[in-house]
Symmetry: C2
Subunit: 303 residues, 2 copies
């Protein structure tokens, strides 16, 4: 059963990867003006779990009842991965986390230079809105749906979502007086909001009811916090080869993490409880087995 689900998720992720590779908006020549796009393609093709677009596709499946979502659903879902990738590029830069490696490859600013990485991040911050409005202009989604998707993404990625979370993360450096409440808010803003956007993307494209949208958001909020807790645990415990980046990078810079507050075992238990709450929220919907399994698997991941 678990293998069947992971097969579907891998096949979703493969389809996402193919769209990111082939998309006209991401094709570039080799003239100097294309160098930012080349850096964007580099960052997007570094792999990763593609959790955000996969969640969008799966929530579309759940609430539409369609087994084979149309191509545009995957394409719109890529807007989430593109936004996530822009934040990773800027996050890795020297003025932020100063990480030289990402997913087993040199970070974008190491491979292309800092100015190029800055511009590549900017390009990817804007691209989702071109992508989503293009899908609407060619008639695959209604303008109403496009406006909602754009509103959901920009709200959760921007000043009251991911950007605010990154600001808190930055501020928390070198502080030791930070507790559970602060970390929970930071994680909600930095990771949770974009997961909420991801689950809502699928729900909105499927024409979900307000109650279904609310369930998608509750699921995402719990999964998001659990996901961040496990990230903190892996940063202390994981094999760097498995993780694809140096471990303990947060501890090295004295940032308090969930692993400090709960201990690694306590943190894993906390993440499991959150995954169970996420899974529980979807029990009332027939066909939600995969998303429930997915939530539980995120809490036991080792990379």
């Amino acid at each position: 059963m678990k293998d069947k689900f992971s097969g579907i998720i891998s096949s979703d992720a493969e389809k996402i990867n193919k769209i990111l590779e082939d998309h006209a908006l991401l094709r570039c020549g080799d003239s100097p003006k294309d160098r930012a796009t080349a850096a964007e393609v580099y960052a997007l093709s570094a792999g990763g779990k593609r959790i955000r677009p996969v969640l969008a596709v799966e929530f579309y499946r759940l609430f539409s009842g369609e087994k084979e979502p149309p191509e545009y659903v995957y394409e719109a879902a890529c807007a989430l991965e593109i936004t996530h990738t822009f934040s990773l590029i800027h996050d890795d830069m020297p003025e932020m986390d100063d990480d030289d490696m990402r997913r087993g490859k040199p970070s974008t600013h190491v491979a292309f230079g800092c100015a190029e990485a800055l511009l590549a991040g900017d390009g990817l911050a804007i691209l989702p809105y071109e992508l989503l409005s293009d899908i609407a202009l060619r008639g695959d989604i209604s303008p109403d749906t496009a406006v909602r998707l754009i509103n959901i993404l920009s709200q959760n990625a921007g000043n009251s979502g991911m950007i605010a979370g990154q600001m808190l993360d930055l501020w928390s450096e070198e502080r030791t007086d930070i507790g559970e409440e602060f970390l929970t808010e930071m994680s909600f803003l930095k990771t949770g909001c974009m997961l909420i956007a991801s689950c809502l993307f699928g729900a909105v494209m499927a024409g979900a009811t307000p109650e279904q949208e609310q369930s998608a958001a509750i699921y995402a909020k719990n999964v998001g916090l659990g996901f961040q807790i496990i990230d903190d645990v892996l940063d202390v415990t994981a094999d760097p080869t498995t993780l694809g980046k140096p471990v303990k990078s947060d501890i090295g810079r004295h940032k308090p993490t969930f692993a400090d507050i709960y201990g690694t075992d306590g943190a894993r238990q906390k993440a499991e409880a959150l995954s169970e709450a996420a899974a529980h929220e979807l029990e009332k919907y027939p066909g939600s087995e995969l998303l429930r399994e997915f939530a539980l698997s995120l809490a036991s991941r080792n990379k």
Copy 2:
């Protein structure tokens, strides 16, 4: 006559400033998570000519025939100024132009720190899409219009517009083999595209015909190139107090400019010819006097 026009433009710009100051999306508390927004407000309130939103409002006036554009037109026009400001914040950073002063005040990264400026730029890169989709969700513009505005802005700001232009600008540093054709393309991408977006914003909101939209784009393209040429001239000749930033900053870093290629007098003549071409394009539209005058005044500006 000229005074009457500059009065209207000042009053447009004042209204833009008021919206930028008062807008709910730009209000922030004093908690650490609001620090990126605080840096954004700082950058947005540094003044400037507000040329992009003013162009949007004036093209709305021209093609709608309404003397008093509704509030939402000004609000949507702010999306252009916000995008412009995001690019200025990132442009001033050490890895880009490394400019410590902007509009007579310390640049955002000097006032707030580099990481904060990076995040503030990111926040402002995303904000226009939240703003525009909000205006549609509350019913002031149709979802169709919102999708078109979002497509126009993202296309002209992103990889095939402003970002590509900034990439060319970066690449041109330390090069001396750069000629008129390269500088013209760079200027088109870096400045022209956002001016095209600005003029189209007003046209689209006014329900302009395709022919009117084309005139708006031709006007913008000519004004944009003329504007950049004058910028280059002012960078060599202007009084730094008038300009609000150190002069000759481009020459100091060996970037070739239009002033090098045409000479300062030749460059001023070229800019005048472009302004005249822009003005000429609008002659067929009754009520276009202000926009024609505006194009001509940009070529003779001294700041």
